[in-house]
Symmetry: C2
Subunit: 308 residues, 2 copies
């Protein structure tokens, strides 16, 4: 009775190679790690579900990368440096080895890209859709985490990268929109967390845009007790998104994983310097008033994505 | 556009009251916390799936408690003190508010019982079964975590509590076994993590029994490079399990969440003292030899639970 049952063979074959120093080669009940001295820890957990957050025929490698990146984007929004992650994987019993190979290859690629390692987790069967979760652990200098609260009236509102590509990419993958160069689909499948920007002391509030620009801006307004105005014409769209002619959807669709930042005008030069060559666009401002978002120049059908 | 969409109402109503100091009232992209000075962190993540780890008609409160307790049991196996947790909740869109009320009441009860608080997480819809994950974060004195490796030939093998109740409880809930006083069902639904035992320096190896005593003992053997002998007649059964007359199933069924400990004979008095009034039973020993488990006095049909 010394043979490994299939579940543990699977862990040994696919997941142990991803484990770092603290992961104890995934062979203990939990992982042990020494938090970096003198730093605060920043932790977040997101789940993604087949048919909700990714499509059944998405490449398993891009599913693994998206799982890490949606969590890394939350750390980026807090100004944290990523360190480790844990993983839960619930898949049907008939899932082929090739799926695990691709999934793990995607995880490995992004572990290397972002300097993180796997600490532990769990693999279970499910009678339902593939359901994955990751908990991402990072660190930040004490008191230097970014928050949603803290925007002030008169702050300008900025966004990194381009908005709407992910939502349009989903439409493209559903065959409802042309995507000749595959750019939009790739933005849906492999978002780009905006890590590594030294924004502490420069921005007055920050969050990542994952459920739609307008809705997420509303969260920032509520946390800061302010109103915001977004100039629709100023929201940066990629050439591919502009060609799609769906600006309203871009403003409200999910899956952007860009950063939304509130900045006092006197800190704008520092913000631009901190972002270097990363695209950064002023799209509006904050004003006194009941929390809420006014969008100028576009009539919207909804404000963003809700699961319920 | 300042109303909260339904997803965020749900988070505000049900999950925010569970959040602790570091959880930022669940209103940021991630949580920030200062790890306890001079301690190592211990982290684990387990998922539970409706129809696999719990039954569709289990009370939502006991589902919440089981989710925390299976993770707390992993911290107990490492000798760690629990601190915080993160949660991902994937449920069908039609899940009624009463389900969330019960689930959160169970979480709140066990948060208080174990001195932990919610740091963050994610709520999503799923077209499939309810799928839940928790990441549990605890701490331990540097170098004092317990491990599966480290058992030595001549060590005796001990187990806390009673074995097999959980597996029998599942049978009872499926209507395949009598459970007149409901004890077995309760052991399946609400396992008891064996936290708070000061075992560092006393045991040479430890793990929790979650996938079946014999199979899990095999993991301990592989990690320590030893053979183990279990005396079936010595494995402690509850009166209710003894009445069921299914000793073989007790040895291999999952859902025990008891601790399996390797102890050098000279440390046995210290082990007994550390466990106080907790039931603790010697069930076998370790010997040189290829890793594997010999069970004396019982012929087994399988060794334990595998998801695949």
């Amino acid at each position: 009775m010394s043979d490994l049952p299939a579940e543990f063979e699977l862990i040994a074959r696919f997941f142990k190679p991803l484990s770092g120093k603290g992961g104890l080669a995934l062979s203990d009940d939990a992982a042990v790690f020494a938090p970096p001295a003198g730093r605060e820890l920043v932790v977040t957990a997101d789940a993604i579900v087949e048919g909700v957050h990714f499509l059944p025929d998405d490449p398993p490698a891009s599913i693994g990368r998206k799982l890490l990146r949606v969590n890394l984007s939350d750390l980026a929004a807090m100004g944290a440096t990523p360190l480790h992650y844990l993983l839960t994987v619930s898949v049907p019993r008939a899932t082929p080895a090739a799926w695990f190979e691709g999934f793990v290859a995607g995880l490995a690629e992004d572990q290397a890209a972002f300097g993180i390692s796997l600490l532990g987790g769990d693999t279970t069967s499910t009678p339902g859709p593939i359901t994955l979760s990751a908990t991402m652990i990072g660190h930040v200098a004490p008191g230097k985490a970014l928050h949603r609260r803290g925007a002030r009236a008169g702050d300008t509102l900025w966004v990194t990268g381009t908005i709407g590509d992910g939502a349009l990419g989903l439409l493209a993958l559903q065959g409802r929109l042309a995507d000749p160069d595959g750019f939009l689909a790739q933005r849906y499948r492999v978002p780009q967390p905006r890590l590594g920007l030294a924004l502490a002391g420069i921005v007055s509030a920050a969050m990542d845009v994952s459920d739609g620009l307008v809705q997420d801006c509303g969260h920032l307004c509520r946390a800061s007790g302010l109103a915001a105005v977004i100039e629709a014409a100023d929201v940066p769209l990629s050439p591919q998104a502009r060609a799609a002619g769906r600006r309203g959807l871009c403003l409200t669709g999910g899956d952007d994983y860009e950063l939304l930042l509130a900045v006092s005008p006197e800190h704008e030069p520092a913000l631009l310097a901190a972002c270097g060559s990363l695209q950064l666009t002023c799209i509006g401002h904050f004003a006194p008033g009941p929390p809420g978002v006014t969008v100028v120049g576009e009539i919207l059908e909804s404000t963003g994505w809700s699961h319920f």
